[in-house]
Symmetry: C2
């Protein structure tokens, strides 16, 4: 899915909500354990069906699948097939390795699995990111400023004439166009996000940290939109997935997603 | 496997060779394609049997399994079962994510899969590494200075009173003891490795970059050993795995591994 198509979905639905499909076995609704198919798959089927009208993207965090072993990797493949073509598909994998290895990761996520986008760590430098960028019809989502407190340990260190995360983003923005390169910027750092938007007016930001991590949605929408279009994918995982763990889990997830979508609509109105 | 047991293996075998099991479908010996089991598994079975006497560790690079989809993840599990208990098992996964996610990765590699060690990216800071360190009977192998040219983009940036990689290693060395924390230091930066050894006399270094990447084994052995014991795991992947792609691939791999082991023996002699 290219930028125009993604922006068109955002405009049409008036939402830039991305839903994180991070299956936590300990929090799955108990009603699902009796079914014929794997409870995670039944869960995702119901969640996707209920929430698809309120979001434009789904993000699958590989950790939550890998913890289930090879079954988990199967569930990752099967979950991906449940997502309609109208929705942007993100592998939240944060891979980062030397070129020869990175090429295998890029193939895994873009070719074998068919994701639209994958999150990538910039730590190892350009040659470790290039194999992802070589897929010019796919998206590389580079870690900029992550939402966790630990981002202060290294990413927020002064490095030359700015912080390390700024240096990384500035350098990386020269590696590819904003039509195939996004940045992760955590909602938990609203003033930094505002400054980053001024420095990078054209890039899409994938914004985690709303919901369970406490980021302020309104602040992000006010200051985070790009110059020419929304330029935001705002991710919510747990607050939607586990809105209820009773039999009404899907309805509860849809209501929560609709609530986020409504909040976004006000801010996105009138945008191209 | 704890430090004492690992050092005992190194002492006994007079080698600190680690062999990377990175299955490249395009380079597998053609003789394996006719067998009953998956060619990757047959390949690893033969390679492990042939090389086990000459190495103390095997390192599985997850990228080369993930590119094969859920079958690949199964092969990862099955390959792990082929490795004898006498050998140290490393997941070269370079995972790095926020705490809540990192906890799932740690469970995946230490519990579900049962690796002794996993490589971890420090970029997201202490809270992203802590879930791995919480397994005090396992090893966290943190990226220090990676072997690729791209490490010059960010890891080798001046940051405060040193380079970023030094800053990371110094800070991280306070997070856990050298009995559960190693660093990745590339063989392609011999003078930096020598300096790092002086700054970190007690930590094990996992050293990639020998073989296909051109690092100098002798230089590493001369300057890289720890104060109290070898403190080195030197990884070779392609140069051993694909020493021959003919019917003699296992013998050729064993010969190549034995050759590396012999070079190491001279330097390790007399070490505890």
């Amino acid at each position: 899915m290219n930028r125009q198509q993604l922006v068109e979905q955002i405009r049409k639905k008036q939402t830039c909500l991305c839903i994180g499909l991070d299956p936590d076995m300990e929090r799955l609704p108990s009603v699902l354990s009796q079914g014929e198919e794997h409870p995670v798959l039944a869960f995702h089927r119901a969640i996707i069906q209920a929430t698809a009208p309120y979001c434009v993207a789904y993000k699958l965090n590989t950790a939550f699948y890998e913890v289930l072993g090879s079954t988990g990797w199967q569930l990752l493949e099967q979950t991906l097939e449940l997502i309609p073509d109208t929705h942007f598909k993100i592998a939240d994998a944060k891979r980062g390795d030397v070129e020869h290895t990175a090429r295998q990761y890029a193939r895994a996520f873009f070719e074998s699995l068919g994701f639209d986008a994958v999150t990538v760590s910039p730590l190892l430098g350009k040659d470790s990111v290039q194999p992802f960028l070589d897929y010019t019809d796919k998206w590389t989502i580079l870690l900029g400023l992550t939402s966790n407190a630990g981002s202060q340990d290294f990413l927020q260190l002064p490095c030359g004439d700015g912080y390390l995360y700024e240096r990384i983003m500035r350098q990386a923005s020269g590696w590819a166009s904003p039509n195939q390169l996004m940045f992760v910027v955590g909602a938990t750092w609203p003033s930094q996000l505002q400054q980053l938007r001024q420095q990078f007016p054209d890039h899409f930001f994938l914004v985690p940290g709303i919901g369970a991590q406490g980021g302020d949605l309104q602040a992000i929408l006010e200051s985070g939109q790009a110059q020419s279009d929304a330029g935001l994918l705002i991710n919510v995982s747990r607050a939607i997935l586990y809105a209820s763990t009773g039999n009404d889990f899907a309805t509860a997830a849809a209501e929560k997603a609709a609530q986020y979508a409504r909040e976004m609509a006000g801010f996105l109105q009138g945008r191209k």
